[in-house]
């Protein structure tokens, strides 16, 4: 089974803890990732998704000059690069989030999305299923072959008897 490090996104959009909401909005408008991780000296402290910003746009009495920390989601659910994909899937099934920062020795190294994990497992399964089925078919053919040989061929081959 592959590990999280193989499927994670490595250029994660990050912003410093002191940044304003305006900066996050401008960044998210340009990129396709859909979220920005808030870091404090490479250490992830929170995440701001597009939905958080849309909620902010609706809420009254808040300005774009406010710090990002007021709308970010925290604490984070983290993954590690050497985590296996089915462990990652277990976390995804229980937490119901879509994006998970990947952390190694306290520093942010990537971003794992539900989409990438599910697709990787699905592809992996399809590949293994095909191999397994081929092996099974070969095995059954072998069994049939031995069965036939064991049953009928010896009487034709038993010329020494």
């Amino acid at each position: 089974m592959a590990r999280v490090s193989k499927i994670m996104l490595t250029d994660v959009p990050t912003l410093k803890k002191e940044a304003k909401i305006e900066k996050a909005a401008k960044l998210l408008a340009q990129i396709q990732v859909g979220c920005v991780v808030i870091v404090e000296n490479k250490d992830p402290v929170g995440i701001v998704t597009e939905l958080d910003l849309v909620r902010f746009a609706v809420s009254k009495g808040k300005s774009l000059k406010e710090p990002l920390t007021s709308i970010m989601s925290s604490p984070l659910t983290l993954m590690t690069p050497d985590m296996k994909l089915d462990e990652a899937l277990k976390i995804i099934d229980t937490k119901k989030f879509r994006k998970y920062p990947v952390v190694e020795n306290g520093a942010l190294v990537g971003l794992a999305t539900k989409k990438d994990v599910v697709n990787a497992i699905s592809d992996n399964m399809r590949f293994h299923r095909n191999i397994q089925n081929i092996v099974l078919i070969l095995f059954v053919l072998f069994e049939l072959f031995v069965f036939v040989i064991g049953r009928y061929i010896p009487q034709y081959l038993a010329f020494w008897a």
């Binding site: 305006e22 909005a25 401008k26 998210l28 408008a29 396709q32 859909g34 597009e50 939905l51 910003l53 849309v54 909620r55 746009a57 609706v58 899937l89 879509r98 539900k114 989409k115 599910v118 697709n119 497992i121 699905s122 399964m125 299923r129 397994q132 089925n133 099974l136 095995f139 059954v140 069994e143 031995v146 069965f147 064991g150």
Partner: protein
């Protein structure tokens, strides 16, 4: 085979192209969806996503018409799941309004496709394990049949 009808979101949130971005943002945050279908004369003409709203807010646009995008593909309920999954994985199209008899009956989003793939994977794991179990028993029988134990037991 996964049926489009069974995985689509049935109550699609729609909006008019003349509505304001604020109304769209309110709908998105109230219903917790990732996007709205823009309809005109009950026909889907565009999509407004969270990203479009943010773009609109940062560039001071006013109406949905200014920010909506046309990156969507209308499909019928008989469309193939794997076809849609392939399109989703290769390109920019993330939303697929489902139209039957000129009427919008549902919406397939990235989330629906991922969840269906996840559930389908689980189903396939079970099927595969059942197949393995059956072949395991067959092999056990085969070995028993040709082993001396059979002669010991049945004479």
């Amino acid at each position: 085979m996964i049926k489009i009808r069974s995985i689509m979101t049935k109550d699609v949130i729609t909006i008019q192209p003349g509505s304001t971005i604020k109304e769209a943002a309110q709908l998105i945050s109230a219903k917790s969806v990732s996007g709205l279908v823009v309809v005109e004369n009950s026909k889907p003409i565009a999509i407004v996503s969270e990203n479009d709203i943010i773009k609109g807010v940062t560039s001071n646009k006013k109406t949905v018409r200014d920010v909506m995008s046309r990156e969507f593909m209308i499909i019928s309920p008989s469309a193939k799941f794997f076809e849609i999954n392939r399109r989703l994985r290769e390109g920019k199209i993330k939303r697929f309004p489902v139209v039957e008899n000129d009427r919008l009956i549902g919406l397939i989003t990235e989330t629906d496709i991922i969840q269906a793939t996840r559930d389908f994977t689980r189903f396939h794991q079970i099927v595969q394990e059942a197949i393995l179990a059956i072949f395991g028993f067959a092999t056990a029988f085969f070995l028993f049949y040709f082993s001396p134990i059979r002669a010991l037991v049945f004479g």
